[in-house]
């Protein structure tokens, strides 16, 4: 039975990578059973993904911050503050949405670069520098919402970010209950995925590099295709892809590409692995620190806008505890506190795990007090798993 052995070997070598997928799968399966299928319903999954969006983008940025051995506690209230600024810019200054979004993102990047200045230039520990930011932005939200309290956002375009769905292809009458464009995009994604996997395998073989055995490779393709098909089917059964999911996918795609394929990404992970060696290898540690914190600030702005859009308003408590959810998502997603290890795609899975727990337990009617405890236990378990498998990984 060499096939089974192959699979066992691949699983053992990549247990860290596959572990969280398995965990997510198990969690979803359990909730599907305990809620008699409500959890996996199109409507619930669609909601779940939309709720995950604003934490997921923070988790992506947080992963890179933790990879370079820092932390950012200020992101929650920064997100809340910039969401409020965006609301004010639209409602009181009358700026159009297409100006407000880039403006808020730029402000976020600026805020991040201030943090980077404190950390990289002044040598203040990130924990302290961003704790200061946490206090300052918390105050800032209160200041800007002081006169008005909650600011209701009237722009439909902006509110669509957190609540809207991509339009369907007009004029198609078959399958009336199904969102056809979503289905089509899903199929295209599946085909592109298969083609790119086959190409990459072929290129590696051309160089005589080690590749997965053919049967395991086929199994992987079939399994991944089934997952994509499943998600597509579930989503197209409700309103289709939401704009939030589209935005998150774009962010993840960009960050995944940058972190794995570019010189910038390599430099980030090199600094995380050994900052001194990286510096002596010609990597500009200060510059990279600026880039990572600025990106974190920018993603905070995005997160803040997604959240404001979802509530269709900016509130005085927006952003509360986001930073801790983002840090939890990053750790559940496999980032190492020692630096240098962790994938941005892991943060998305981590965010999904944490949100699935909330969603599932809500559906089961479990009280919020117990929800916190369960999520805490899962976070601890994830890190224990990470530590335990570190030595056996390749």
């Amino acid at each position: 039975m060499s096939f089974v052995k192959d699979i066992q070997k691949v699983l053992r070598q990549n247990i860290r990578e596959y572990g969280m997928f398995i965990a997510l799968f198990v969690i979803m399966a359990i909730f599907t059973i305990t809620t008699k299928g409500i959890f996996i319903s199109s409507r619930n999954i669609s909601n779940l993904l939309n709720q995950t969006g604003y934490i997921a983008v923070l988790g992506v940025g947080m992963t890179l911050v933790i990879v370079i051995r820092h932390i950012d506690l200020s992101v929650g209230f920064l997100a809340g503050f910039l969401g409020a600024v965006a609301a004010i810019a639209m409602e009181f200054w009358g700026l159009p949405v297409y100006v407000v979004i880039p403006f808020a993102l730029a402000l976020g990047a600026l805020a991040g670069s201030i943090t980077a200045f404190l950390v990289a230039q002044m040598g203040i520990p990130a924990f302290v520098a961003t704790l200061a930011g946490w206090l300052i932005y918390r105050g800032a939200i209160l200041v800007v919402t002081e006169g008005t309290g909650t600011i209701i956002i009237s722009s439909d375009a902006f509110n669509a970010l957190g609540n809207g769905f991509i339009p369907d292809i007009p004029g198609l009458n078959f399958l009336p209950e199904v969102h056809k464009l979503t289905l089509l995009l899903g199929i295209i994604t599946m085909i592109l995925f298969v083609i790119s996997e086959i190409n990459s395998r072929r290129r590696k073989q051309a160089y005589n590099f080690e590749v997965l055995p053919m049967n395991v490779f086929t199994l992987k393709l079939v399994f991944a295709s089934l997952v994509i098909a499943g998600i597509t089917w579930v989503l197209s059964g409700y309103n289709g892809l939401s704009w939030t999911v589209v935005i998150v996918l774009i962010v993840v795609a960009i960050y995944h590409f940058v972190s794995t394929q570019t010189v910038l990404g390599r430099h980030i992970y090199a600094i995380g692995g050994n900052p001194e060696a990286a510096e002596l290898s010609g990597v500009n540690v200060k510059k990279i620190t600026y880039v990572v914190f600025s990106s974190m600030g920018m993603l905070s702005a995005l997160s803040g806008m997604l959240f404001a859009s979802r509530l269709q308003s900016a509130t005085t408590t927006a952003g509360n505890l986001f930073e801790l959810d983002a840090i939890a998502a990053a750790f559940v997603g496999g980032v190492s506190a020692a630096g240098g290890v962790g994938k941005v795609t892991g943060a998305i899975i981590g965010a999904l795990v944490m949100m699935s727990l909330s969603s599932g337990m809500n559906l089961m009617g479990i009280g919020i007090a117990y929800q916190y405890m369960v999520r805490g236990a899962v976070l601890a378990a994830a890190v224990i798993f990470d530590v335990a498998t570190r030595s056996t990984g390749k």
Binding site: K204, T262, A270, G273, A277, L280, G282, K394
Partner: protein, 507 residues
Amino acid sequence: MKPPILEMRRITKEFPGVKALDDVSFQVKKGEIHCLVGENGAGKSTLMKVLSGVYPHGEYAGEIVFEGEIQEFGSISDSEQAGIAIIYQELALIPDMAIFENIFLGHEIGNGFTINWNETVKRAGEMLEKVKLDVNPATKVKDLGVGKQQLVEIAKSLSRDVKLLILDEPTSALNEDDVENLFDLLRDIKDQGVTCVLITHKLKEVIEIADAVTVLRDGKTVCTLDAHEGEVSESVLIRHMVGREIEDIYPKRQHQIADEIVLEVNDWTAYDPNIGRTVFESVKFNLRKGEIVGFAGLMGSGRTELARSIFGNPDKYKTSGNVYIKGSKKNFRHPQESIAAGVAYVTEDRKKNGLILIQDVKQNITLANLKEIARRGVVDDNAEIKVATDYKDSLGIKTPSIEQKVENLSGGNQQKVSVAKWLYVQPEILILDEPTRGIDVGAKFEIYTIMNQLVEQGMSIIMVSSELPEILGMSDRVYIVSSGKITGEMPIEEATQENIMHMATLN
């Protein structure tokens, strides 16, 4: 015939895919100094980790008999309890604590709840006397030199009634005086009945101090020699270690040194604001194309600082003076700029600041020159693998795969990865800081061969080394550094161990 204090019988320890120890037997007699030698990867450290309980009973096959009883150590504290202490290359002291705190750390003197500091200081003083270290026990460990820190470490072991003291490469960071002190002390504590096991690469030291020597090769015991039977000489040991006689461990080279001066440094002074002192002063030297220039001197004489100040000054020294690369004046503010100007620097401590241990071989090799394999900022994975494979083959890096994490390689192979990284930036000037520290004879020979090939191709090399034979065997010209000043310069023909050592101890 003295009875054995320690007997390790038929020890076998496997890691996934590797048999690190294969049926090793190791016997140490009571009250002797027993040296354990072997190439890197021969299994010395693994054997000691089995002994000390780092790999607990059950993870290895075979048995350990200590003081006549079969031991099953489940952890380091078990072996400490039995009277075995190991002092590692990287010292396990806490720099910001005083000597007396360090000595009794983990077995504080007191009533179990509060510490009796007066008694602690008094006992620490007695321990320091035992190791002949004449400093105030309240001194912070970070204010001591490496040699003295090592003595503190030994005092710490002695304070625990150690019966078997194991020292792993104790002399790699010491200068000759400190080594002598250490050896005197080891002979002393031997007379007090403490048995010592010494792991070392330096064969001269083995011959000087050992009562018995055990040689390991490829995870197997080759032989145990009795030094008092006259069996031990350097060539015999090398033959056992590598399985062949190395006639000359310094390969010959055929090369032309051009007249062209590629690096010239004048009146170069650096002040380190962090520690508040001048690290070197009015240094003047030059380097010609195709030349290997050795920088000899004792530890802490300022050679590493000098190298780093030229290589982009990452420590932010305040410098004055002039550095010319191929005739044009340079003022590097970041290693990046030095690399761009064709200068590369292989650090003295590859684990601390040379390599990214958690990354794989290929990522380490390409790190300093990623732009070469990237187009518009995107790294070409296939090109990278090709580059790494080329260097793996040309430098003979022994690794199962270029996707192996560097932390899993032996010291010699790690050093080759370090060198490969810097060769890939295609420098004209290569600074090698202690290029063969902590690596075995076979790997040393390979590193030297690579150096020869490089200068034959026209590269210029600065070699900072604390090993005099290496300086004499490899350099074309030697500068001697002492206390931050260049105290001598001589062509290799005039250099001897004696005159270099003389100049290195001036000031």
